[in-house]
Symmetry: C2
């Protein structure tokens, strides 16, 4: 079969269209002929369906473009899994920006108006701006050419947690925590703020984030006011404290209870439905707080997602610049869920 490279495209004639597009979903038909992308061409060369392109076999052809080998591995893997897919190019697919492939549901192909996944191929070392995620599947090619698929989406954040307890309880700062020596019972037992100093004592210890939130709500009064809590938090953590407080506030405002995620290496673990501490279930999500302009390293993403998966929680990233951590400004947080996917 006659094939030759024209810029980004490999052209094959009428026979190719029947054999490759009509029968197996390769390429994009133009005027009765067929245009193939390089990655599709590499796959046809690999399979032996095409012998050579302009004199090049599979090995030589794979080296003709930067990144082609990684894209080939993902293309081949998805084909091996029984999918048809189309390289994302203007006029070939809708909305090709930011992705490499449109993958059709199994059994469907480019002639159907259906989409299973929008896939972006990244190498293990490629930085991935958070702003690019939310509606794509990342196909990460690691340094040993193994593949990991990560599905990104925008989660709903809402729960049914109780309102904070009555106002005006005295609290103090002690090192880097807040302590309420004589707390109202609901503070911990119903609303799950802080934790008791001991099983048989009434005193409740709270994190500075909990303390700052409850001070803003008027629930706790500190000798130095709410500012003294913010000051201590910022001394220890800088802007990160404001970001965490913004996310904490957004979660509580949505009826979700955040508790420390330290044991999981995250900022928070969250409970959407709590009626009392005695009936505390399993926390559903881990939340990592990041600045809005954050760029992920795929390895860090992999670490978070693997851990969350292992403890049966959903990994959620919360992006905020920390401005507007007052309770009425919770809309300044954006949420991103990332989960492993087996296509």
């Amino acid at each position: 079969m006659e094939t030759h490279v024209e810029g980004e495209t490999v052209r094959v004639g009428h026979t190719g269209r029947e054999q490759f597009y009509d029968a197996r979903g390769y390429g994009h038909p133009v005027d009765g002929e067929l245009s193939l992308s390089r990655v599709e061409t590499a796959h046809l060369l690999y399979r032996g369906d095409i012998d050579s392109v302009d004199g090049m076999g599979f090995r030589e052809f794979l080296a003709t473009e930067d990144g082609l080998a990684s894209r080939f591995l993902v293309y081949k893997d998805l084909r091996d899994r029984g999918f048809y897919l189309t390289p994302a190019r203007e006029a070939w697919v809708d909305d090709p920006d930011g992705i490499d492939f449109v993958v059709y549901p199994r059994g469907d192909g480019p002639w159907d108006d259906t989409v299973a996944y929008r896939v972006r191929v990244v190498a293990e070392r490629d930085p991935v701006p958070a702003a690019d995620l939310g509606d794509v599947v990342l196909a990460v090619v690691d340094e040993e050419s193994e593949l990991t698929y990560l599905e990104t989406s925008r989660p709903e954040v809402s729960g049914t947690a109780a309102e904070p307890p009555e106002h005006g309880t005295d609290a103090v700062l002690l090192d880097d925590r807040a302590v309420v020596w004589e707390p109202p019972e609901r503070l911990h037992a119903a609303a799950f703020y802080g934790q008791p100093l001991d099983d048989d004592r009434t005193a409740v210890q709270l994190s500075l984030v909990e303390g700052a939130y409850l001070a803003a709500q008027g629930v706790l009064s500190f000798p130095g006011g709410r500012e003294s809590v913010l000051e201590l938090g910022r001394d220890a953590e800088g802007d990160r404290f404001d970001r965490r407080l913004a996310v904490y506030t957004a979660l509580r405002t949505s009826g979700v209870v955040p508790k420390t995620g330290f044991k999981f290496g995250a900022e928070f673990r969250t409970y959407a439905d709590i009626s009392s501490v005695e009936e505390l279930g399993h926390s559903e999500r881990l939340v990592r707080v990041l600045p809005t302009d954050h760029t992920f390293a795929p390895r860090d993403l992999s670490l978070d997602i693997r851990l969350a998966h292992g403890v049966r929680k959903e990994m959620v990233f919360a992006f905020t610049d920390g401005i507007g951590h007052e309770p009425d400004a919770s809309a300044d947080v954006e949420w991103l869920s990332v989960q492993r996917l087996t296509p």
Copy 2:
């Protein structure tokens, strides 16, 4: 009972010595009297064994020193778990540097010459220099005052992996990987280098670290020589590539097989005993590669250790400056194992 503060020490008289030291292992006896540290005093106040010190009750006393509240929580927790422990001070314990407490085996006390744990208390936000670890237990107090114990030690790194295969096989670079189109069978099957491009193909893909190591060993020949592999690796990763290569080399030299740890967010997972790929067992360790002057954030440590625990692997940190990545310089790597501990 008469008690009063003298600098860092709280003094109680002869009765106190019998009641607190002889019977329950508090403090350090001096001339028939007893010296108590602040954290011990806080615990005795908390229990009601002492009513007040210079007019202060438990709440007031706990605020008299920075960090006392965190140390108190750890001291109390270890006491609750049935241990006697002594604050680390010159003349009170051997080698008090870098730790807060010496914990005795259950049933033993300060009058015995035994040690169960040497404990260092850190708050969640305290940076922990890697150089301080290796023979201590970290007691991390998180922002909600929950405790996590992390045991640090120096692991043995050795295995029985096969020698590299015969010399002089041709390899090429393709994007950010190496490919051996016609590999000797032992390359992957016996020595577990790289991975096959496909189940029914002979071609083997290798990471750049594997490629650089095998080029140094004379096993692989690249058109641009070993330097071309190093150059590509350094372009992508900078110094990190040299550090990873140094650790890879040290592991292989010790008979251990490193493979990518990407799915676990680590640099490598390792196999100590491999006779063939068919009988590949479970990898035993995850290895994270860090510069020698690295300082840990406790939360990052917690993330790594929690993940490793969840997948039943040991978390090992490898410290190197990346100088001396030639195979004969493997001694430049220091190893640190960190595991969760329930005292």
